[in-house]
């Protein structure tokens, strides 16, 4: 690393660091999991009561 990288101007530094220090590029799929029921009647009642959702 050069000395500039240690005392850079704000805004420029982060980009440089990200370019030169990032972990290896090795993409991995991470599918979103299904966690909610199609119909959650209990939460629907609560939401109606609180009038927020």
């Amino acid at each position: 690393m050069n000395e500039d990288a240690k005392t850079p101007a704000a805004g420029r530094f982060t980009a440089e660091v990200m370019d030169r220090s990032s972990p290896p590029s090795a993409p991995l799929a991470m599918p979103k999991q299904v966690l909610e029921l199609q119909s959650n009647w209990l939460f629907a009642i609560y939401a109606r009561l609180v009038r927020r959702y």
């Binding site: 690393m1 993409p27 599918p31």
Partner: protein
């Protein structure tokens, strides 16, 4: 769903059943005592409601006692691991998510762990990735400078990485997920840490040996020990976590089998299992119940188990450390966040295909916070109950000429309170007794010192409990009414509070305490004795909060709550202390340089702002 089929051993099933039956028996006995006490003047609707509350509360307390009993009876199981001298084949990424924390403090831990791994001769198999979600530009610049220093000193180019997200999608879970999506394919395992985590290289290597020897193991959790506590409050928490928690953790380990917990840090995951199973969706609706999943760790453990991966807590793994809040207000602030996260799990109780134990764990997490408003209701209804009692009938027999006075069943209430106290305190005293026979007490300064610390911890817990009851009840109410607590950095640093700060944060508790006691004095004399242990700490809340936040590292205070790492600092702690000291010295030198002062001051100022929850733009 490519993980192996996750079985449930008969022994684990029996232990679970045993713990449930024990809790139900204790709850039944407590409710029976209460009915006999309350029935002296006839049962009102309020009394029936109190019975239900008592049944729930005592079952919850008994469950905690059951965990400690199981922990005391714990017999370690044979664990698969690679033989000594066999190098693990898989590469490991050590992930350090940071969020507006003090970079010097955090990065010095990374340097210490790297040095500790080097001493194990395995640095080539491990990369560090510091994953910054920091929102303050000044702190981010400071992070980048500290990273440059870290890489230079540890010769870490190409293996110690730093990347910053400018958009913090998904908060900490999103931060880890971002790494998995971009770089997960390069690693077999990932050790997930917190900004305040510290682990010995030997422990990290041992964890990799264990996960590599068991292809079905998706996540291996350690029990982190609290270190670097300085205040009275912090050191009490530290002692409790070091002396009692391992026993509770062993109890938990025997109950959960391969459906163990993930506490979000100081745990090793199999990257493929995590990526396949733990992509968290956003929940429909707005926070606090909708949006990103806050307490993601419980959910990730449940998802791994759902996919058939083993999730295991190995309580024998030592030298895994974390830090904790130094005062009651910071503790309550963190608790507010956890409360929201756990209550959000109500949305997931019926999530498709989860294992029954995972649903039970969600329910436990919810109960951990709902228990407080339940106890509060017990107290409120107890004060109100005399006003709802039926008129006494001294002539219940129509043709009997003499009055029959109801029997005084106060002794039943004494039995009930004593029983509840035993559920809370007895396990701790048994742990002292166990330590006497196993020799474990020697690490805590001997049995006398351990006993004194235990009694002091019980006393402090009893004083703090009514305050936490109010803080947690308020948190539950806020969440139920839809208030989002946001995402503030936890300050595990200084922590010393002024009396003014303590008063400002707790005056509503003081007022509640005064009103409670005043009401009892004027309208419910019989309740005064029972209410003083609760109302007293409430009235003196500012003094309690202020006093316990003070430094307690010298003289007799150092004797109290002493833990093994204070007697004999482990090597990784000693390494970290040395590195931190050197870096702070170089920071001070940099600050003495005229050109550097403004930037350094600004960065330090931003750290302080962020640590108090005031995140700069």
């Amino acid at each position: 769903m490519s993980g192996p089929k996750l079985g449930l051993s008969t022994a684990v099933l029996f232990r679970r059943l045993g713990a449930v039956v024990f809790s139900l028996i204790v709850s039944f006995a407590a409710t029976e005592l209460f009915i006999r006490y309350a029935n002296t003047d006839g049962m009102s609707a309020v009394d029936i409601f109190r019975c239900v509350l008592i049944a729930i509360s005592t079952a919850w307390l008994a469950w905690g006692a059951a965990l400690s009993l199981l922990g005391l009876l714990y017999v370690p199981e044979v664990i698969a691991r690679l033989p000594d001298g066999t190098a693990a084949k898989g590469r490991t990424a050590i992930l350090v998510p940071v969020y507006n924390e003090d970079p010097v403090s955090t990065f010095s831990r990374v340097a210490a762990m790297d040095e500790s791994l080097e001493r194990q001769g395995v640095t080539g198999a491990f990369d560090f990735a510091i994953l910054s979600d920091t929102t303050s530009e000044a702190i981010a610049e400071h992070e980048a400078r500290s990273w440059a220093q870290l890489v230079a000193e540890r010769r870490g180019e190409g293996r110690i990485f730093y990347r910053r997200r400018t958009v913090n999608t998904g908060k900490k879970a999103g931060n880890i997920e971002d790494f998995m999506r971009r770089s997960g394919g390069a690693y077999e395992y990932a050790l997930i840490l917190d900004a305040d985590s510290l682990m010995d290289g030997h422990t990290i290597v041992e964890m990799v040996r264990r996960i590599e020897a068991d292809p079905g193991l998706g996540l291996l959790q350690t029990l982190p020990t609290i270190i670097y506590a300085r205040s009275f409050f912090g050191r009490a928490m530290q002692f409790s976590a070091t002396y009692f928690s391992p026993i509770f953790a062993r109890g938990l380990a025997t109950l959960q089998g391969y459906e163990g917990p993930f506490w979000g840090h100081n745990a090793l995951v199999r990257v493929r299992a995590f990526a396949e199973s733990c992509g968290l969706p956003q929940l429909s609706g707005k926070p606090p119940f909708g949006g990103h999943i806050l307490s993601h760790d419980f959910v990730e453990a449940a998802l791994l188990a759902r996919a058939g991966w083993k999730v295991r807590l190995d309580p024998d793994l030592q030298a895994s450390y974390e830090e904790s809040p130094q005062n009651l207000l910071e503790h309550a602030k963190r608790d507010r966040r956890w409360c929201q996260g756990n209550l959000q799990h109500a949305r997931l109780l019926l999530a498709p295909n989860l294992r029954l134990w995972s649903r039970f764990v969600f329910a436990q997490g919810i109960m951990a916070y709902v228990a407080s408003p339940i106890w509060l209701l017990v107290r409120v209804t107890s004060i109100a109950s005399p006003f709802f009692a039926p008129r006494p009938d001294y002539f219940p027999e129509p043709h009997f000429p003499f009055p029959i006075f109801p029997a005084d069943e106060t002794i039943m209430a004494v039995f009930l309170v004593t029983g509840i106290w035993c559920l809370l305190v007895l396990p701790k005293l048994v742990i002292v007794l166990r330590g006497l026979f196993t020799g474990d007490n020697r690490q805590f300064g001997g049995t006398v010192q351990a006993l004194v610390s235990t009694l002091a911890e019980v006393l402090l817990s009893s004083i703090i409990a009514p305050l936490m009851l109010w803080f947690q009840s308020r948190a539950v109410l806020q969440v139920l009414l839809g208030a989002d607590g946001g995402w503030s950095a936890t300050d595990r640093g200084g922590g010393r509070l002024s009396l003014g700060d303590a008063w400002a944060a707790s005056k509503w508790i003081v007022l509640s305490g005064i009103l409670t006691l005043a009401f009892a004095i004027t309208a419910a004399h019989s309740m005064i004795v029972w209410l003083i242990p609760v109302a007293g700490p409430m009235i003196f809340a500012p003094l309690v909060i202020w006093g316990t936040s003070q430094n307690a590292e010298s003289g007799w205070q150092n004797y109290l709550f002493a833990t093994p790492p204070e007697f004999h600092p482990p090597s990784v702690m000693a390494l970290r202390d040395q590195i931190l000291s050197d870096w702070e010295q170089s920071e001070d030198d940099a600050m003495s340089d005229d050109d550097a002062i403004p930037a350094e001051l600004a960065a330090r100022h931003q750290v302080q702002l962020a640590s108090t929850g005031t995140v700069a733009p």
